[in-house]
């Protein structure tokens, strides 16, 4: 079949057309485009079916696993696709690794090195037990995240725009330094022993639950696909994004134990970001599983934080 590749402004991206087998897949098309345009490797390409001008519908995105035949409506030797350049891409595991490495390395700097001497706080520094436990807790958390990135998570997209590296690292690294500064401060005031134990107790429980949630999510994509399934089991039976729920409560535990404004600010911002993700995911699952044409209907569930949302 012959495929015409145009840009969104109508210009032909590839002079002439791309010639492919009738049984070719989208991946084959992407590789063919890459061969003709060295700059645009497959993960940079976003291919859609053309929409009628003025139509308010969202364009259909071509999915890599499918064959091109699925997108031709009857006329199997002709297909037109619209190309969009997503910009330079970085793989998700690499992105996550760099985001999480920052907090993992920056936080201990404030604990182990005489940072505060250079900030004007002379004199001896007494380290409270809670500060040591907080160090272990924090470092375990980010070590866990890195391990999950490489061994547990199955991503729906292979890559993310490179600009996200700077944005995400700024977020994680800045908050890491901000919190580390206050928890390890020479003038830090610890909470009661009981409060500390309750805080870390909740935190550890939720981190373990969070890991279990991630494993459940991974098994939904057992065949290595990036598709969407209805999550079931454990907390997913009552809340769509149980993984985010446990993550938020885990940070709450850390803050109950360490009690800093910085930590709570981070908790609020992180909860806000995750809530936005959760709303989008919940909406997507309800749309995909609408109960029609033999598909299951998505059950009634909390989105992220029962009993509020």
């Amino acid at each position: 079949m012959k495929v015409t590749v145009t840009t969104r402004s109508g210009r032909e991206l590839i002079k002439g057309q791309v010639e492919l087998n009738d049984s070719a897949t989208v991946v084959d098309l992407q590789e063919a485009i890459h061969k003709r345009t060295k700059k645009y490797y497959p993960s940079r390409q976003r291919l859609t079916l053309p929409i009628k001008p003025g139509s308010k519908e969202k364009p259909t995105v071509l999915q890599s696993k499918k064959s091109l035949k699925d997108y031709t409506d009857g006329n199997i030797d002709q297909l037109t696709v619209v190309f969009k350049d997503l910009g330079p891409q970085v793989s998700y595991p690499i992105l996550f690794f760099w985001e999480y490495l920052g907090p993992l390395l920056i936080y201990p700097i404030f604990y182990f090195f005489p940072v505060y001497q250079y900030l004007g706080f002379k004199g001896e520094r007494v380290i409270h037990p809670v500060q040591t436990y907080a160090l272990y807790y924090w470092c375990f958390h980010y070590f866990k995240r890195i391990m999950e990135t490489f061994f547990v998570h199955r991503f729906s997209h292979a890559t993310s725009p490179v600009s996200n590296v700077f944005r995400n690292c700024a977020y994680y690294w800045s908050f890491g330094a901000y919190i580390a500064y206050y928890v390890n401060h020479p003038l830090y005031t610890p909470v009661t022993d009981l409060q500390m134990k309750i805080g870390f107790g909740i935190g550890i429980l939720c981190q373990v639950s969070n890991l279990y949630c991630h494993i459940i999510l991974r098994n939904l994509r057992g065949d290595g696909s990036g598709g969407y399934q209805i999550p079931r089991g454990f907390l997913f039976n009552i809340v769509t994004c149980a993984n985010y729920t446990t993550e938020i409560y885990q940070w709450l535990g850390f803050n109950i134990a360490t009690q800093t404004v910085a930590g709570y600010v981070f908790l609020i911002v992180a909860a806000f970001i995750m809530t936005n993700w959760a709303l989008a995911k919940h909406r997507r699952l309800k749309r995909l599983f609408d109960g029609k044409e033999g598909r299951s209907k998505y059950p009634r569930r909390w989105v992220i934080l029962p009993p509020f949302l």
């Binding site: 401060h185 005031t189 009690q259 404004v261 910085a262």
Partner: protein, 217 residues
């Protein structure tokens, strides 16, 4: 747009216009009659009132009553409120400086033009072309004079921030938190570096759009 919103916005814009007209009048009168050291005391109350009314403008943007993007209004209103309350009100030592006069007059002229422009537009559906021209041209001079006055006054207030420790939170405390007003002022001055060209170029592009539209009509 609803009749109610138009009426409300008309009243809002003309009320704040009167406030700023008062500020401008008192500022110039005091400057000529008594000298720049007394300008702040003469304008303090109407200035605080007119400037604080700008809070409502953030609300208007958020609920969609006006079209201005919040990214353009928030920094401008933020810096105005900061200088009015966080600098002039909080550190009386700077009130006698001549930059107060240039500040208040720059703000006064800009706002008198802006509010009468929007007040006329809301009331009659459009504004006379000279007012449109003024609204989209006066900023060319008044933004630089206004912004320089803001920056200058923040800078002059800084030694007093350090000495007085006003608004500072020191450790140790129960919430393991700290805040240094002096450092925050440095950070704010830092924000003026990208912020000023951003706002100025935003107004330039608005000017292009607004003035070319009338040419075509």
């Amino acid at each position: 747009m609803g009749f109610l919103s138009r009426t409300y916005l008309t009243i809002y814009n003309w009320t704040v216009f009167i406030g700023w007209a008062q500020v401008l009048y008192l500022a110039v009168k005091t400057l000529i009659e008594s000298g720049h050291e007394h300008v702040y005391d003469a304008v303090e109350k109407p200035l605080q009132l007119a400037q604080s009314a700008a809070f409502l403008e953030i609300l208007h943007g958020l609920i969609g009553l006006v079209r201005s993007p919040i990214t353009a209004t928030l920094p401008q209103i933020g810096s105005r409120l900061y200088v009015t309350w966080g600098i002039l009100y909080s550190f009386p030592e700077v009130r006698t400086h001549i930059l107060v006069s240039s500040l208040v007059i720059s703000w006064g002229i800009t706002e008198v033009i802006r509010y009468s422009f929007f007040g006329t537009k809301e009331a009659f559906g459009s504004a006379p072309s000279f007012l449109l021209w003024l609204r989209y041209s006066a900023f060319l001079l008044l933004y630089p004079t206004g912004i320089s006055s803001e920056v200058g006054l923040i800078y002059i207030a800084m030694p007093y921030m350090k000495v007085s420790e006003k608004y500072c939170i020191r450790m140790p405390n129960k919430w393991n938190s700290s805040f240094d007003y002096f450092s925050a002022a440095i950070a704010t001055l830092g924000l003026y570096i990208p912020g000023s060209p951003f706002l100025y170029s935003y107004m330039l592009s608005q000017r292009k759009k607004a003035l070319s539209k009338t040419k075509r009509e």
